[in-house]
Amino acid sequence: MTARGKRLTLILAALALLGGATALVLSAMRENLVFFHTPSEVAEGKAPVGRTFRIGGMVAEGSLERLPDGVTVRFAVTDTAKTIPVVYRGALPDLFSEGKGAVAQGQLGPDGVFVASEVLAKHDENYMPVEAQHAVDQAQRAASTLEP
């Protein structure tokens, strides 16, 4: 092979690699975007059914209840206009409480109940530095629910 030919082979190989990586990125991206919707949007039917998304707002006062198994909880997320019931099995994040902000990730069931696989709570109402914020955000993630 000539020097030029070798160079061409190399460039082609590199391009093929890059192309493969790009294809990988695009397909993974399409499947794993998680959109954010407000309770109003969910109530209006704008949120997708059968696809994971996030819902955010405040935990309605007096809505938090624990089911008899002790681990499953129900609560309602509201944006003050509309309220969506949420059910979640697992330990809630440290800062989860009624009247405070929370974000739940999961899917909307056919009965209109949002089945959360992950719940994130907002930190206290003051603002804080980013590293701390990061840490707090992390802490507030509760991992995915159990397999039945």
């Binding site: 092979m1 020097a3 070798k6 082979t9 190399l10 190989a13 590199a14 690699l17 890059l18 990586a21 990988l24 990125v25 397909s27 993974a28 991206m29 499947e31 794993n32 975007l33 998680v34 959109f35 954010f36 994971t52 996030r54 955010g56 624990r66 198994d69 002790g70 681990v71 099995r89 697992g90 330990a91 809630l92 440290d94 800062l95 902000g101 974000v103 994130l120 709570a121 907002k122 930190h123 206290d124 003051n126 603002y127 804080m128 530095p129 980013v130 590293e131 701390a132 914020q133 990061h134 840490a135 707090v136 955000d137 992390q138 802490a139 993630r141 509760a142 991992a143 629910t145 159990l146």
Partner: protein, 665 residues
């Protein structure tokens, strides 16, 4: 007075950095020995000034001086002294001061320990570093003054965020900053090379140990951050693909590519413009991480006001630094082309593929991190990119990289024949596949992921052993110890780091395949079972701490009728903060962790308890430590020190500004 002194020291440091930048760059351009020597001294004094400024802030924290705003907001009278010490960097302003201190530390190190460099080259490096320092100190002084006073002085402070009151957080930020900022040294070497038009094997040998040390810091910083997340956050995860973590991973990936590219530049004189580009890239990504994290551009829906002027300032700094360097690159890089030709199948070829894969991985992580921004800008939709995206992209990119990683050391420089190499390592290849098959069968967990993970680990370990055996056989010296000693540090570095990657993969694979989790409500006296372990909640009692009260559980862990240990997970309520905190308890082991944390009380005397069985998770940390150790071994390579002695002798005899490329061969 102490805060004012710190403020003054900060201003002084800024002025010195400016002097250093101007004298360093101008002195090198004009060949003025006096100016260059002054730039070197300015770097040392700048470091001293920042040490003083940092000491002043630390003193304010230790003396609990609430008249300093930062102290009042990040400590309290009851905060233990250790966390008042770390509270210095548990906030934006203080951490930027630490950042600047680390940068000045690197500059002082270059000024003090670079007798191998020619005076002109060192002056250029210090000039570029000084310019970076000017930007960051201006940022600190103008937008993030750590010494701001608070009037009236409150009687009690707000305390440090409880999450940061942890031993892991004591060492994590300094390590990480040393790594980020260390990339500035590699960057400055690259810029100095562009400015002087001089970039040869000697340049690569100068640049490589500095890059290695910075990379080791970055590796360790990421490791500690990950371990901290694992034990502190209470749900057993160790990597979250969060923007802040991605911000540290991207420079690490590009830094890894840079280390490998530097090898080619040193040994074969090739990849020169690519090496420069990677050095610029690694530092740019460190800056970008800082921008993303601190400007508030990328945060989740539940974050508030970060000062917009800060974001604008960092964005400007980023634009200036990276923009100017990339233009300089476009202007001067054409001169750097050339170098030895090589065939696709060769050591160079494999290192090129490594570079492409690492850069592609960094690009994919960058895309995932900023994608929410793009969509917000274009469509106004709110979304987040989930961890599955990163896993799906990252893993397939890393698989060929790892396969190649073990194979590349067998390849010859310039040109090689694939069949020759494959003939040498086929026993290892077959061995790895057999071990993987046996492994998934023994675990009773037959998945593609588990098989691949084990096969890769086995492949890396077997190939590494083979490499060592081959290396020992070929040595000319007689006697095993003489042969072992004859192997250079950089070879051991490569060997250890690659082995570390294998160990790391095993940890990731096994914990992913075999971990078990149970969220369960337990009344005192009740028990639960997970993965052959029996857990008994003896009770939960209130225990006082220095600045918190804790609900501490006592959980017995039994296996096969024998009690192994009693774990004490806590739920803490810190006095000065509304935040409750989960403190997990771990029975740490080489082959498995048993991990317990307390969820919420259920109101009837019971508790939600989280139980985890985490096999081989510590292998993730072992692997990362091995990788870092490899970096240390390579940085300690004798040839860098030998180079130091020879060059010192040469420049002493010649008194020239442009010596050495030939002398050091």
């Amino acid at each position: 007075m102490i805060p004012e002194m710190g403020q003054f020291a900060l201003a002084l440091a800024w002025a010195l950095a400016l002097v250093q930048a101007v004298l360093g760059l101008a002195g090198a351009a004009r060949g003025s020995a006096g100016a260059m020597a002054a730039a070197r001294r300015a770097a040392l004094v700048q470091f001293a000034a920042l040490v003083l400024a940092y000491a002043c802030l630390t003193a304010s924290f230790l003396r609990i001086d609430f008249s300093v705003l930062l102290v009042a907001e990040h400590s309290s009278t009851r905060t233990p002294w250790v966390y008042r010490l770390t509270g210095v960097w548990g906030n934006h302003e203080g951490s930027m001061l630490l950042w600047s201190l680390a940068l000045a530390g690197w500059q002082a190190a270059v000024a003090a320990f670079s007798r191998t460099l020619t005076a002109a080259f060192r002056a250029r490096v210090l000039g570029v570093l000084g310019a970076v320092s000017v930007g960051f100190l201006a940022f600190l002084i103008l937008t993030s003054n750590p010494f701001e006073r608070l009037v009236p002085v409150p009687v009690e402070g707000r305390d440090l965020n409880p999450l940061l009151q942890d031993p892991g957080m004591i060492i994590h930020p300094p390590l990480l900053y040393m790594g980020y900022v260390g990339m500035a040294v590699a960057f400055s070497f690259a810029i100095a090379a562009l400015l002087s038009g001089r970039m040869d094997a000697a340049w690569a040998r100068w640049s490589r140990p500095w890059t290695l040390v910075a990379w080791v810091f970055l590796t360790l910083g990421i490791l500690v951050g990950s371990a901290w997340a694992y034990y502190e956050l209470g749900w057993g995860g160790w990597w979250f693909w969060d923007p802040v973590e991605n911000a540290s991973l991207m420079p690490w990936l590009v830094g890894t590519a840079l280390l490998h590219s530097l090898i080619v530049t040193e040994k074969r004189g090739a990849f020169r413009s690519w090496t420069v580009l990677l050095a610029i890239g690694a530092f740019s990504l460190s800056l970008l991480g800082t921008f993303l994290v601190r400007s508030g551009v990328i945060t989740s829906v539940h974050a508030f006001a970060t000062d917009p002027t800060r974001g604008v300032f960092i964005l400007g700094l980023l634009a200036l630094t990276v923009g100017v360097s990339l233009l300089l690159f476009a202007w001067r890089a054409p001169r750097l082309s050339g170098g030895g030709a090589f065939a696709p199948v060769s050591r160079e070829g494999s290192l090129l593929v490594n570079n492409v894969l690492m850069a592609a991985a960094a690009g994919a992580v960058l895309l995932g991190t900023v994608y929410p921004l793009i969509i917000d800008a274009l469509q106004g939709a709110k979304l987040s990119v989930g961890p599955p995206y990163f896993e799906k992209v990252f893993v397939p990119l890393m698989i060929p990289a790892v396969v190649l990683m073990a194979l590349a050391p067998f390849l010859r420089w310039k040109r090689d024949v694939l069949s020759r190499v494959l003939r040498r390592v086929w026993p290892e290849t077959i061995g790895a596949l057999i071990i993987a098959a046996l492994g998934v069968w023994a675990m009773d967990h037959v998945t593609v992921g588990a098989f691949l993970g084990i096969a890769l680990t086995a492949w890396v370990v077997l190939a590494s052993l083979r490499l060592l055996v081959d290396r020992l056989r070929q040595g000319a010296a007689s006697g095993m110890t003489a042969r072992l000693r004859g192997i250079p540090g950089s070879w051991w570095g490569m060997w250890l780091s690659h082995l570390g990657v294998g160990v790391f993969i095993l940890g990731v694979t096994l914990v992913g395949a075999l971990e078990q989790r149970l969220d369960v409500k337990m009344m005192p006296g009740q028990e639960a079972e997970l993965a052959g372990y029996r857990f008994v909640l003896r009770g939960v009692s209130e225990v006082p701490g220095p600045n918190y009260t804790a609900q501490r559980g006592a959980v017995e862990v039994w296996r096969e009728g024998r009690m192994l240990t009693v774990l004490a997970p806590e739920k803490r309520a810190y006095f000065r903060s509304a935040m409750p905190m989960t403190e997990s308890a771990i029975d740490w082991g080489v082959f498995r962790d048993v991990y317990v944390s307390l969820g919420d009380p259920t109101g009837d005397g019971g508790w939600v308890v989280l139980l985890f069985y985490k096999p081989f998770i510590s292998w993730i940390w072992f692997g990362a430590v091995l990788i870092a150790l490899g970096g240390v071994a390579a940085a300690l390579d004798r040839r860098y020190r030998r180079l130091a002695r020879r060059t010192a002798a040469v420049s002493a005899s010649e008194q020239s500004h442009e010596p050495v490329a030939e002398a050091v061969r």
